[in-house]
């Protein structure tokens, strides 16, 4: 039985994790490799590293970090942030990333999805979609959620799949940071509209929220950041809970 995946997401700035990290037994909370190692022990299923470094010069630091993660961590991991060309993706993949996540650049240039998929395979390309409900429909926002577009999340997800995406990372801007639960309706709609896996993101605050998104939608995975980093919801406890509720997770 294929398991539902639990994915911690680490924001990286200039090679260090940002947002606080509250694992007591990590000596250096800012070190992404240490944190990643902790998640391997906790049996997280995959990891996502998002580079939020503003400047291009600092990208080198991120690529070096990807190399260190790949050397030490025996879990699949996705990297994202600032990838706008096939060469950007190639640098990260050859440094050891299993998948790259692309967002604004994919929306502005859907052929980028096809280009990366042709060179490295669809399984390497995760298209990240930030979506917000405008009162009528769930619309796509780009540029870190700052710029609205005229395309709905469902339309864009279908298009991204046709272009060669292997997976969709769907973040509800309405739910993100609220800890009031995943946006079930849009997650359900998008998961139903595409035949590739969908990762639900934004809004996780309790273990019940994970159960809800896995039972009410056909998403394949759920992603969260601070609730895992601060230890509010430990990954092993979450998996024990979900398993008790009849959801198939890797133990």
């Amino acid at each position: 039985m294929l398991k539902k995946r639990i994915i911690p997401c680490l924001d990286i700035k200039e090679g260090r994790t940002v947002k606080g990290v509250n694992f007591v037994d990590i000596r250096d909370a800012g070190d992404p490799v240490g944190l990643a190692r902790k998640y391997v022990e906790q049996r997280a299923d995959e990891l996502v590293f998002l580079d939020i470094t503003a400047t291009i010069e600092k990208r080198k630091t991120f690529i070096e970090l990807v190399g260190r993660i790949a050397a030490e961590i025996n879990l699949p991991f996705t990297v994202g942030g600032g990838i706008s060309t096939i060469d950007d993706a190639a640098l990260l993949i050859s440094a050891g990333a299993d998948k790259v996540s692309i967002n604004t650049s994919a929306f502005q240039n859907p052929d980028l999805i096809t280009g990366i998929a042709k060179r490295f395979g669809s399984q390497c390309v995760t298209v990240a979609i930030d979506t917000r409900f405008n009162g009528m429909d769930w619309m796509v926002y780009i540029n870190a959620g700052n710029t609205p577009t005229s395309l709905s999340a469902v339309e864009w997800a279908k298009r991204a799949e046709r272009q060669g995406a292997g997976e969709i990372l769907l973040t509800s801007m309405n739910a993100d940071g609220t800890k009031s639960g995943f946006s079930i309706d849009v997650t359900k709609e998008v998961s139903k509209s595409v035949s590739i896996p969908v990762i639900a993101s934004g809004g996780a605050g309790t273990m019940e929220h994970f159960r809800e998104v896995f039972t009410k939608t056909t998403c394949s995975a759920a992603l969260a950041a601070s609730i895992f980093h601060y230890g509010e919801i430990p990954v092993p406890g979450l998996k024990e809970y979900l398993s008790g509720k009849g959801i198939n997770v890797r133990r």
């Binding site: 039985m1 294929l2 398991k3 790949a70 699949p76 299993d98 395979g121 399984q123 896996p197 056909t218």
Partner: protein, 192 residues
């Protein structure tokens, strides 16, 4: 020395990283002599069957793989290449296993991506591993079950998670990305 076949497929570095973590020296190479004399050969990869077979044939690496006598492990695309035919590009493959590689029918999400367990396990590759353990898969094509099948995985339909014939071993999942269980399986191969 363990030789990792260098060809036009991805994830090669991940396999080398995994060997290094297990304390084995390895070389990524397409040099015939290095491949012939290596203790063991690994054919890694994520990629396209047609492109990969073409690449191997142009360099006569297809014949070389068939002449190897040391233990050989194919991973993911490596398993597909060891079968006799793949639907991915309608290409004739190496024919070590009398099995065809087909695309998953669209009854569930494709690619089959994530952690999945086994429904049958046998052979030294799986020494100390239980069928309840999960390993990481990412693939859209699968191999049929044959007499060579060592382990079965069920997604949409039952398919070969691992195969073995003579000195040739192959796994559909990625042991290099499958945490402790994957490391145990890799170690079993390396200790053959």
């Amino acid at each position: 020395m363990i030789a990792i076949l260098k060809y036009n497929a991805g994830n090669i570095q991940s396999v080398q990283n995994a060997l290094t973590r297990l304390g084995y020296e390895s070389v990524v190479t397409d040099d015939k002599k290095e491949l012939m004399t290596a203790e063991k050969v690994i054919i890694p990869g994520v990629g396209h069957a047609l492109g990969a077979m073409k690449y191997l044939a142009e360099r006569e690496l297809d014949k070389l793989i068939l002449s190897l006598r040391q233990p050989v492990l194919g991973i993911c695309l490596g398993l597909h290449l060891m079968c006799h035919y793949s639907d991915e590009g309608s290409v004739k493959c190496l024919g070590i296993f009398d099995a065809a590689v087909k695309k998953f029918p669209p009854f569930d999400k494709v690619p089959h991506m994530g952690w999945n367990n086994f429904s049958a396990l046998k052979g030294s590759l799986f020494r100390g591993v239980s069928a309840a353990e999960d390993v990481y898969y990412v693939h859209s094509y699968y191999s049929e079950i044959t007499d060579y099948t060592l382990a079965i995985c069920d997604y949409v339909l039952p398919f070969s998670a691992a195969m073995h014939r003579d000195n040739y071993y192959a796994v559909q999942f990625h042991p290099e990305k499958s945490a402790d269980t994957g490391s145990a399986i890799l170690r079993n191969f390396l200790e053959l």
